[in-house]
Amino acid sequence: MLGREKFRSFLLSVLILAVFLAIWQIASMPSTGDQVVDEEYAKLVGSAAATGQKSSFPTPAEVGKKLFEQLSNPFYDRGANDKGIGIQLAWSVSRVALGFGLAALVAIPLGFVIGMSRLIFSALDPFIQVLKPISPLAWMPLALFTLKDSNVSAIFVIFICSIWPMLINTAFGVAAVRKEWIDVSRTLEVRPLRKALMVILPAAAPTIMTGMRISIGIAWLVIVAAEMLVGGTGIGYFVWNEWNNLSIANILVAVLLIGVIGMLLDMCFARLQRAVTYRD
């Protein structure tokens, strides 16, 4: 019965997509209205501008064509302002991976320490509470000023935005490890490092993974904005560049791909999360 249910929901999804595309198509159809401009002017600019006023918003078919074009040659590189969308996405993903990875290296050990010690937790809590709500982009000028490199600054911004959910979740996960498991390792005289790796880490892993999943989502949200600011490469810069080119179709292609990559990242972490979750 589950298979049937799944099939029906799939059918409904297809239907919703079809309706959406149809509305889009109608809304972006060329309006074949009467001549709306001055006759002199029409002569000057040619008939296309004067009569069949084409809506500037691309139709689904045009976006589809652009998408196909972009995906059939994603890695071309024709200079600074004309690179394939695959190259741009690779830049963004690698910045996210680097910033997120560095954040994990800091947040997970620090979260361990905070979670183990009430004293350190209480001492660091006010700092975390103040730093956490700061928009990561607010750090950008400071990063550019101190790091003096736009690429490093973008990575720093990713670092700073992905650190908080991981830090807080690790601390909570570690603090919430059941006392009986700690007692077992105490009666077995398990050495601190072994206890951390064999008992506390697996016990807190589901909570830590939840934090990592939230972090990677935020990092992927922030990278687009960060790249719009720092420029040069990346999907965020691509979107901004296509805006300057007034190529709405390319922007839509990028928006779609940003969504797909974000979904894939989330799916990876959902899978990791399942792998470390234990049933009690």
């Binding site: 009986e180 498991w181 007692d183 077992v184 390792s185 105490r186 009666t187 077995l188 005289e189 398990v190 072994r194 064999m198 008992v199 697996p202 016990a203 892993a205 470390v276 234990y278 049933r279 009690d280």
Partner: protein
Amino acid sequence: MTQGFLKVQGLRKAFPAAGGTGELVVFDNVNFEIDRGDFVCIIGHSGCGKTTILNVLAGLEEPTSGHSFVDGREISGPSLDRGVVFQSHALMPWMTVQGNIAFAVRSKWPDWTKAQVDAHVQQFIDMVHLQGSENKKPSQLSGGMKQRVGIARAFAIQPKMLLLDEPFGALDALTRGNIQDELVTIVRQTQQTVFMITHDVDEAILLSDKIFLMSNGPRAVLAEIVSNPLPRDRTRATMHHDPKFYELRNHLIDFLVHRSKTFAAA
């Protein structure tokens, strides 16, 4: 030296009373000795501090005052010398049955090879009759099987003594009976010294050589130490035919129902 293998002197546990005036004494002036190879059960109503006493012996809690010694050495913290079976079995849910026991074995003998550890673990899995469940996770086991793993884990480190905190409390009567029988067999084979908390009078009579009776808390004391007069080879199936069984049982129940309330420290 088998006499006074475990010695407890003047044990007392108190907490600051709510409101900040005075203190709440859980138990006071608890003294006892357990000889090597003895099986001792401690019975008392909730709140008399049985679990605290066990935790002190395990080294997991500190008494407010008093001392306890195992094999002539004062208890100053948890130790591999004392195996603990927890009421809630306390297995690591992300490890298999084999993994849980091997974790304890490797803690005790960190230098052993994998083959040595595996062979040792298997021996104790066989002991509690869990062959075939080696690679199951605790969530796939019944309550009785989980507690068997807990028992195997405690025995596997071959401690000098075992501390059991109401290990069968959460089990149904049938399972409880079966595991009690297994425990009797294992303890008789291994000559383990055991200190066990229970609420179940029949369980205490079946298992223990001596039964410690605690008066009610607060300010509980060790009221009485009863030696079990039944022969050591008693079994669950036959012991209730022994006339001494009811005499002992009545004595224990009388204590729990009446005297535990009125017992005042001398």
